[in-house]
Symmetry: C2
Subunit: 345 residues, 2 copies
């Protein structure tokens, strides 16, 4: 697990504390505490000064333990791409387990890979006063989240990093995993390898494409334009892309599938072909063992758990610079990635 | 879709209205509205009388449209068995889509098939003031929910019915589906058929067992004790159960798997055997087409959508008796269920 601090100024350090409020209002810490907790013994004038300081600084109490003591249930919001995608099942479940251990509830929503819908969900969660957010972003610009983060909503991105803001991110090594998978196909004799991936605005799709290109370049292989297809993971699109790169003057002899949705369709296309075509897919799939599908496996439960633990560290008051955590992937050879190219190819 | 009203007295009719509060407090409707909305113009004595009437009647405002007008986001709580089980992915997603169409957020949690945890989650959701609940119950006694339902939290059970209370339930035809699947094996010549199901306290497990027994009886076949195994769906337990019924003096020649978790392990066990054994599984599974697995498919997205639509009808004020909706299943023949018994068996 490589953990890289991206800058050294502690961004979360700018979150105002009770001390900041006390200093600005010119009162003692105990007085701020009384106002915040609605206790007696504060004159109206002092209360007004404290309230003004709280508003001016954007102070918000968000200690999850305190929230629980006060009887309100803590909650965290999770925005993912599609609740129905099996990749997110173990991830959601792992996040839920960590939340449960901290006495917090999980609010869930699917962005359907739509940036506006992601923003709408995130802001609805914030309006609902979630204590923290875990986001698998659909969009590429998260500046809309800055006021919320400043107001104390701890936020961790998972699977894909935030865009245009500096925030925690827990990712799989998409670049390294794809490079390893494609190098594996090269090692089994392939020279013409296709890449079918998700839409190019998705970070993991372009990272995996970069891994593919790196492995090809390291092997001294040119990449024909016809061998790369990024786009929707709908079965019809993937099927058309696979069939296109399997025909023509320079047909591929192997395919690297950029995620589990692509792999499922690729397996169906290849099952119907006369001659075997090698396949390595990013993401493991249930029953892939019985079908002999070689994959680059990422551990979605560990992704979720790592992100949630990071979130609750923030909620418990740990102040560190936002960091990017990158988790390794694992090649699992099961047969489809070890099929050699046909003689003479 | 068979919709059966289970009794005719409109249970939800007992939910008190503002009119009931006004009558009990001896004030006008406008006065109740003022108190409920915190508006001025009510004497302390009148306010006290209205508040007492609200408490006595258990009145709670829960009109989702009103909630939205007031700016608070409506939310519904979903308790399922395991967020990581692929069966619940399309179900959760379908519920989310209906909730979204009504401007409501989804709060999710896994019971892990534990009745106490189910109750803990449900009550945590209620404390969080969800407007409605959709529950896949782990427990068999839901009387703990009666005060919440009386207080106006609309509740719909899905996949399994409520225990000891009268509430809406949206179910698949577990009995009919299992009976059809086992009859299919009988029609292909099998006489010794095993049943491996989930734990006996789970409604769907016993309904499917009942369907198995009905099909065997209709075919004039005795069921040996050794052919029926209910219990955890952990791979080790399913593997042991399958291996036990495939050996011994009267080995089965076919297995009916009671749900998708059982099927996945059964497929692995049967793949390792010298002679083919027939298999039909309840629930469809991704890639089952490529593996040739015959299944009784239930439409988990339609289950979820139907339950959510029913919930929002209640939230929109439709007052009907609780009903049980039963959705049909579909037999999909793909090869494993059409394997004949070995000669002489």
């Amino acid at each position: 697990m490589a953990e890289t601090a991206r800058h050294h100024e502690p961004r979360y350090g700018i979150r105002p504390t009770m001390k900041d409020v006390a200093a600005r209002a010119g009162v003692g810490l105990k007085t701020v505490s009384r106002v915040v907790n609605g206790e007696a013994g504060v004159t109206p004038d002092t209360e007004r000064r404290v309230t003004e300081a709280i508003d001016a600084l954007g102070f918000r109490r968000n200690d999850s333990a305190r929230v629980l003591r006060k009887g309100r249930t803590a909650s965290i919001g999770l925005v993912l791409e599609d609740l129905a995608d099996p990749f997110y099942g173990p991830l959601s479940r792992a996040i839920e387990e960590v939340a449960r251990a901290h006495g917090a509830l999980l609010i869930n929503g699917s962005s359907a890979e739509d940036a506006d819908r992601e923003q709408e969900l995130v802001l609805a969660f914030c309006a609902r006063r979630v204590d923290g957010l875990i986001v698998i972003p659909a969009g590429g610009d998260h500046r809309y989240l800055e006021p919320e983060i400043k107001a104390g909503v701890a936020t961790v991105f998972v699977d894909r990093p935030a865009g245009r803001i500096d925030a925690d991110a827990v990712l799989s090594d998409s670049f390294g995993g794809a490079r390893e998978g494609v190098a594996h196909l090269v090692a089994h004799g392939h020279r013409r390898i296709g890449f079918i991936g998700d839409q190019p605005r998705i970070h993991t799709a372009t990272e995996r494409l970069r891994g593919y290109r790196a492995a090809m370049e390291e092997a001294g292989l040119e990449v024909a334009d016809a061998w790369v297809a990024l786009g929707s993971t709908e079965p019809e699109r993937v099927r058309a892309a696979a069939e296109a790169m399997l025909s023509g003057p320079e047909p591929v002899t192997a395919i690297f599938a950029g995620n589990n949705r692509v792999t499922v369709t690729a397996v169906r296309v290849l099952a119907g072909r006369e001659h075997p075509v090698a396949l390595v897919g990013f993401d493991d799939i249930e029953l892939a063992d019985l079908l002999g599908i070689t994959v680059i496996s990422q551990d979605s439960a560990t992704l979720g758990r790592t992100a949630a633990e990071r979130l609750f560290r923030r909620l418990d008051g740990v102040d560190e610079a936002p960091a990017r955590v990158v988790l390794p992937t694992t090649l699992i050879a099961r047969g489809s990635g070890e099929i050699p190219p046909p003689p003479g190819a």
